[in-house]
């Protein structure tokens, strides 16, 4: 069957806040500046706009106000303005309230949103502006002509479990573009390819990530005031683990709560989902959730490394924006406004480059200058090393964060931290147990059996993520499984079975006790944690057939 090709001026990969802001900005520029309107296409792997978007979320409105000044009249789905704010330090049984809100966590004037709803609304604005949004199209690979990005190949449809062509087979379309803007999100598979093939991370700090697990609950009337925003530090995480919890009270009795954990933890037996369940069992949470009902569950990695980990964001024919470029402020716990702003700046760069007829790396390098002259830099640069400081523990991290705030980052040097997955210790190192000896047993993982009311097992949670994939397709998690059967069990005790929040990885044993990795690919919620955290770097996430994945309605 012939592969189709499509030619556009600008291809935007990813229909999240960065990609959609870029699309909307491009259409605005075409209207105001005149000239030939560039043809624009946005591709999105989800079946519908917003379905794979998940965040807390507290939205800093600055970028939205700049992109669409009359956003309120246009019906932007702002659920509530932030009202009462609290920060707690949790011990196992107590919650110690911070006497004042640390300035980066002060959210007055920000809005509570569902990123899923915001994404759907932005998609509607883009489509109203005449942008073609192709949902259900997963970008499979970057098309390169030497060093030049010439477009993206979408994934094939209708391949069976073993890669064979089914009756419904259709080869993925090649979309050629003069400029491709990569907004494929945290650990985007195309940006990952681009970083590798064009060495975009050279001379930059290694990327850093965290995983966020989130649930949406419906609580009894009058339980908590709408607009309340709570952040927690401490329990269930130990000082060596970076992260914290959030609880946001939305209208209609909905409560958004989650736990973010740095993907640079040391304990090979650590399980973020177990930590999340322990978080919910804390009296502060358990009281809020008494008599409440789980509505939805999801998980997503987030880039935490900050300004010094942003790669080179321009190449011949290519720009990178949003989470794909690590544009997240991990101190303020915010990235949506930065995703939108970088998307807008990328759009302005692409538009001018097209008008000048120079879309080479040199022609697109003004994106870097635009970023440096923008609030993106003034927000990210002062806190550039804070996440790296937390790799030395909670207390040094907090002290450094305070110092960075007081000095606005001026007198502090750049801290270095290796890639998060290299921080994972072996069982022998961390626990002093030698799994090679026949009597060894793994240490307790601090797991408590789920009660199916407040806490759930991963499989039940996955059901609440609404994730669905065609079962008869090749596994979209490529794993060099010989590691699983040979050394991983004794060195790390198969950590993939724990860091995956969706029970994709399971170790089954045959009669002789030999381990075999079973990949339940259709459970995948596209969080990318396995691609990031696997200590051997043998797991590669590639997109499944377009349209598959979670359904994050209201998340």
């Amino acid at each position: 069957m012939e592969r189709e090709t499509l030619d556009v001026d600008v291809l935007i990969v990813g229909g999240g806040p960065a990609g959609l802001a870029a699309a909307i900005r491009l259409s605005q520029l075409a209207k105001t500046r005149g000239g030939d309107a560039p043809s624009i296409a946005v591709i999105e792997k989800a079946r519908e706009a917003g379905a794979h978007l998940l965040s807390g979320a507290v939205l800093d409105l600055s970028a939205l106000a700049e992109l669409l000044p009359d956003y309120r009249a246009l019906g932007a789905p702002l659920l509530a303005m932030v009202g009462r704010e609290r920060v707690y330090f949790l011990t196992e049984h107590r919650a110690l309230r911070a006497p004042l809100i640390p300035p980066p966590l002060a959210n007055h004037g920000n809005a509570l949103v569902s990123l899923n709803q915001l994404g759907r609304w932005l998609a509607a604005q883009a489509e109203a502006a005449g942008i073609d949004l192709f949902t259900g199209f997963a970008g499979q690979q970057v098309l390169l002509d030497g060093q030049r990005v010439i477009g993206v190949r979408a994934g094939d449809r209708g391949r069976g479990k073993h890669g064979e062509e089914k009756a419904t087979f259709e080869p993925g379309v090649d979309i050629h573009a003069k400029v491709t803007i990569f907004c494929d999100g945290v650990r985007g598979n195309l940006t990952k390819q681009l970083r590798r093939d064009l060495a975009l991370g050279q001379g930059r700090e290694p990327e850093q990530f965290a995983i966020g697990l989130k649930e949406l609950w419906e609580v009894p009337e009058g339980r908590i005031e709408t607009g309340t925003v709570m952040h927690t530090l401490g329990h269930p995480l130990r000082h060596e683990e970076f992260g914290g919890g959030f609880i946001y009270a939305l209208p209609d009795r909905l409560l958004s709560l989650g736990l973010v954990v740095g993907l640079d933890y040391h304990d090979p037996l650590f399980d973020p989902h177990v930590a999340f369940n322990r978080f919910k069992r804390h009296p502060l949470l358990a009281r809020l959730l008494d008599g409440a009902r789980l509505v939805r569950y999801g998980a997503k990695a987030l880039p935490e490394g900050g300004w010094n980990t942003v790669p080179r964001v321009y190449a011949d024919g290519a720009l990178i924006a949003g989470d794909a470029g690590s544009f997240v402020n991990s101190v303020r716990l915010k990235g949506i406004h930065l995703a939108m702003r970088t998307g807008m700046l990328a759009a302005e760069t692409a538009f001018e480059a097209l008008q000048r007829g120079d879309t080479s790396a040199a022609g697109l390098s003004s994106y870097q200058q635009r970023l440096e002259a923008s609030p993106v830099r003034t927000e990210l640069e002062p806190v550039r090393s804070v996440h790296q400081a937390f790799s030395h523990g909670l207390v040094p991290g907090l002290l450094f964060a305070g110092a960075a705030m007081l000095t606005r980052g001026h007198w502090l040097g750049n801290l270095h931290s290796a890639s998060g997955h290299t921080h994972m210790r072996t069982l022998r190192w961390y626990y002093g147990i030698d799994m090679a000896s026949p009597t060894a047993t793994p240490a307790a993982t601090r797991a408590v059996p789920p009660d199916r009311v407040l806490t759930f097992d991963k499989v039940t949670n996955v059901h609440f993520a609404g994730t669905a994939h065609d079962e008869d397709q090749p596994a979209h998690l490529l794993v060099h499984t010989e590691v699983c059967t040979s050394i991983c069990g004794t060195e790390y005790g198969h950590p993939c079975t724990r860091f995956c929040p969706a029970n994709v990885y399971e170790i089954l044993r045959d009669a002789s006790g030999a381990p075999r990795l079973q990949i339940n690919a259709s459970n995948c919620v596209h969080c990318k944690t396995c691609d990031i955290m696997d200590p051997y770097g043998v797991i590669t996430w590639v997109p499944p057939e377009g349209g598959g994945g979670p359904q994050y309605t209201g998340m």
Binding site: V459, T460, V462, H463, A468, E471
Partner: protein, 318 residues
């Protein structure tokens, strides 16, 4: 009058048509019921007594096409002026019912799971938002309302039969209506199973441990006259074909009897079978969630229990 549209394929009545008859009987407050069997044939005899059987014999109805089906049912409605038209929510109904409703400008209440009241004031219950809500719907207008019943929502064995009468043939011209010709039926390389049609199902889960142990379950299924099905891990391993999978990523079934062997009852499996009339679960783990939906449960080793059950059933049936 209530008109039920029955469905047949190669002379065999679709089991779900009985459920549509049951729905109609529940709705009728002394009203007459007629059952339309497009294509006619032997299936008419089976239906006789449950209502007046109407047939339309025409070569255009030998194989289903939406054109001929819509013309036939619309013609029958014109001749009989029913108040309600009831059919099972089958693939075929999904295909042509919207078109029929549009043709007649009639309200369509699809995927009905229950009815409230009888006669003209009856209202219909149908799921919304993937089953999260149930809407109560009252069709408006004078024309007939079309109702499709979710499979498994009404009990086929609740159908009452009166004195059988001979079927009456209606004359509806179809030649002009049909623009479609039928390709020879698509033969799949291996026979796909429609577990939704099975009255009894024996399903195996991870507790079966190895592929060669599935024979234990197959023997029980053979003794019971049941179809074999499985939870996802089994099909994922290729121990049984994917079309035997029950659950959110497989088929949804509602048999009279569902026997779950070594299935823990993950929510993904439960959503595919919780509509079964009677659920029997055998599992080693007394805390397994399957026991929350089971009518009968045995905590124990399926390799001890299942052969004993099979032997007992075989003894009873001889």
């Amino acid at each position: 009058m209530i008109l039920v549209v029955a469905e047949q394929r190669a002379g065999a009545l679709n089991r779900a048509s009985w459920e549509a008859v049951a729905c109609a009987q529940q709705l009728a407050a002394g009203e007459p019921i007629a059952i339309l069997l497009p294509g006619g044939g032997d299936a008419a005899t089976a239906l006789a007594g449950a209502g007046e059987v109407l047939t339309i014999e025409d070569s255009a109805l030998a194989s289903y096409t939406p054109d001929a089906q819509v013309a036939a049912v619309a013609g029958a409605i014109a001749q009989t002026s029913p108040r309600l038209v009831v059919m099972a929510h089958t693939y075929q109904a999904r295909d042509y019912a919207p078109r029929l409703a549009a043709r007649l400008r009639a309200p369509l209440v699809a995927d009905v799971v229950g009815v409230k009241g009888t006669g003209a004031g009856a209202t219909f219950l149908r799921p919304m938002f993937q089953g999260k809500l149930v809407a109560e719907v009252a069709p408006q207008g004078d024309g007939p309302a079309i109702v499709t019943c979710q499979i498994g929502a009404f009990r086929a064995d609740a159908v009452t039969k009166g004195t059988p009468a001979a079927a009456r043939a209606l004359s509806v011209p179809l030649e002009a209506a049909s623009r479609q010709t039928v390709e020879p039926p698509f033969q799949e390389a291996r026979q796909a199973v429609d577990l939704g049609q099975a009255e009894r199902i024996v399903a195996v889960g991870r507790g079966i441990k190895a592929q060669d142990q599935i024979a234990v379950a197959e023997k029980l299924a053979a003794a019971m006259g049941a179809e074999i099905a499985a939870s996802r891990p089994i099909c994922d391993n290729g121990w049984l074909p994917m079309d035997r999978q029950v659950g959110s990523s497989g088929q949804t079934v509602a048999p009279k009897l569902y026997v779950a062997l070594g299935i823990s009852g993950a929510i993904q499996h439960l959503v595919g079978m919780k509509g079964s009339r009677t659920i029997v679960a055998i599992n080693k783990d007394a805390d397994a969630p399957i026991f929350e939906v089971a009518d009968y449960g045995i905590v124990g080793d399926l390799f001890d229990i299942v052969p004993a059950m099979t032997a007992e059933i075989e003894k009873q049936s001889h």
